[in-house]
């Protein structure tokens, strides 16, 4: 048996495979030399290229950040320093709640992602590593050059807080920093979405029924709640993953309850009316909506296992 395996047929197979590999490599070389590959940033990558690049990025960042340990950085002065550095280095490409990128950040491929949900996808160490060392072929520079590790951790501290910043709160932070004698009240550290969604009050089963009886379904598509219509307002698919409510409030249990109880109190011109629900009923609806999609912690774990 083993004598036959080491005989000629095996050699043919190996030679054939080598030949095919060489031919393939030569064909690729000719293809590259032809210049037909579209390198334009404006045109999206094809799906297979996107998938490979994203996988490479995720694995590389996870591997290289594996031994980094975050120092304590949940102090107001660290976050203030982080905000200043963020505005100096990051906002021009990544923007901020309600603040657009500048021209330099437009038209990059890959597109610099908004960072409101960075902590729902990456660990603190991974955000630090990416900020400190940058990403090859992604337009992301290394910000450790000319900076100290403590300054990079301050940026991470601010990016963590972005997860719970409404456009309004962000503006307040910026103006408080620009003018320290400003009397606006700023809360430098708060509960992030990732923390707030770890425990949601209310009963999802009752909430699902209430969403039907209050007629929410006639304006919104809601997975799991059947009915006609649903095209007046936005679909509520993957609701737990949504960052903002009506573009104003950060999507957390308390804010969502407030919104459901009286939307015009928050956005006077909204088409969504107050429904006359009780606080307990609103909490139940909130509980059901957060069963849609992945909550921040689940999202991070899902990212990890990918």
């Amino acid at each position: 048996m083993s004598a036959r395996l080491t005989g000629k047929p095996v050699l043919y197979v190996i030679a054939g495979a080598l030949g095919a590999a060489l031919l393939g490599a030569a064909a690729m070389g000719i293809f590259i030399a032809s210049g037909r590959y579209d390198i334009a940033a404006m045109h999206p990558h094809t799906q297979p290229v996107r998938t490979i690049l994203k996988f490479l990025q995720r694995r590389s960042i996870a591997f290289h950040a594996r031994n980094l340990v975050a120092p304590r950085f949940d102090q107001p002065e660290v976050i203030q320093r982080g905000l200043a550095l963020y505005r100096e280095h990051c906002v021009s490409c990544h923007g901020a709640p309600g603040e657009g990128r500048q021209r330099v950040g437009v038209g990059l491929n890959p597109n610099p992602p908004p960072l409101e949900q960075a902590i729902e996808r990456w660990s603190d160490a991974e955000i630090y590593w990416t900020t400190a060392f940058g990403l090859k072929m992604a337009g992301m520079p290394s910000f450790l050059l000319g900076r100290t590790p403590a300054e990079i951790w301050a940026i991470v501290a601010f990016v963590r807080q972005m997860n719970r910043l409404s456009p309004e709160e962000y503006r307040r932070m910026v103006s408080a920093r620009a003018n320290p004698s400003d009397t606006v009240r700023v809360q430098w550290i708060g509960k992030t979405r990732a923390e707030a969604l770890a425990r949601v009050p209310g009963d999802p089963a009752r909430g699902k029924e209430l969403l039907r009886t209050f007629g929410c379904r006639s304006c919104h598509l809601i997975p799991g709640v059947p009915g006609p219509g649903g095209n007046v307002g936005p679909p509520l698919t993957r609701w737990a993953e949504r960052q903002f409510i009506s573009g104003r409030l950060v999507n957390m249990p308390d804010a969502l309850r407030t919104w459901i109880l009286n939307p015009p109190a928050i956005d006077p011109h909204t088409a969504m009316p107050a429904l006359g629900a009780t606080v307990a009923q609103a909490d139940d609806m909130v509980a059901y909506l957060y069963t849609l999609g992945a909550r921040p912690r689940e999202r991070q774990q899902k990212n990890r296992s990918r």
């Binding site: 490599a25 490979i52 657009g100 309004e168 307002g233 679909p235 909204t270």
Partner: protein, 121 residues
């Protein structure tokens, strides 16, 4: 040549084979595909999930699936072409303080994007 250099070359060759895409026509016509490319290039997909737009799986703002049938823009304007173009170009003037930032989109681009969004039923 080290193993890692070899591996890198093999990977690049592999990418080359799958990376060849047709360049879209650049004239600002009303071909909806032009709008899909612009939605991707302007980064709309980092906040919105948009069917048929490369990489558009964002969850910061609402999903734009079925947009042609949506009654309101930002919960207040009737969903019509001119309103949608205004919203895309200058959301802050319609809803001051909204999380959606003003982006440098010109009129032709806004039109192409809106035309694409109205193909989503």
């Amino acid at each position: 040549m080290t193993f890692s250099e070899l591996a890198a070359i093999v990977l690049l060759l592999g990418l080359a084979g799958v990376g060849c895409s047709r360049s879209p026509a650049m004239e600002p016509d009303r071909n909806p595909q032009q709008g899909a490319i612009l939605l991707s290039a302007h980064g709309c997909g980092s906040c919105h999930t948009i069917p048929g737009v490369s990489g558009a799986s964002g969850t910061i703002g609402p999903p734009l699936a079925g947009y042609a049938r949506r009654a309101y823009i930002a919960g207040k304007l009737p969903n019509q072409l001119d309103n949608l173009m205004r919203w895309i170009r200058d959301p802050q003037s319609i809803e001051p303080g909204t999380a959606m930032p003003n982006l440098p989109v010109n009129e032709a681009e806004a039109r192409a994007m809106a035309v694409y969004l109205y193909t989503l039923r």
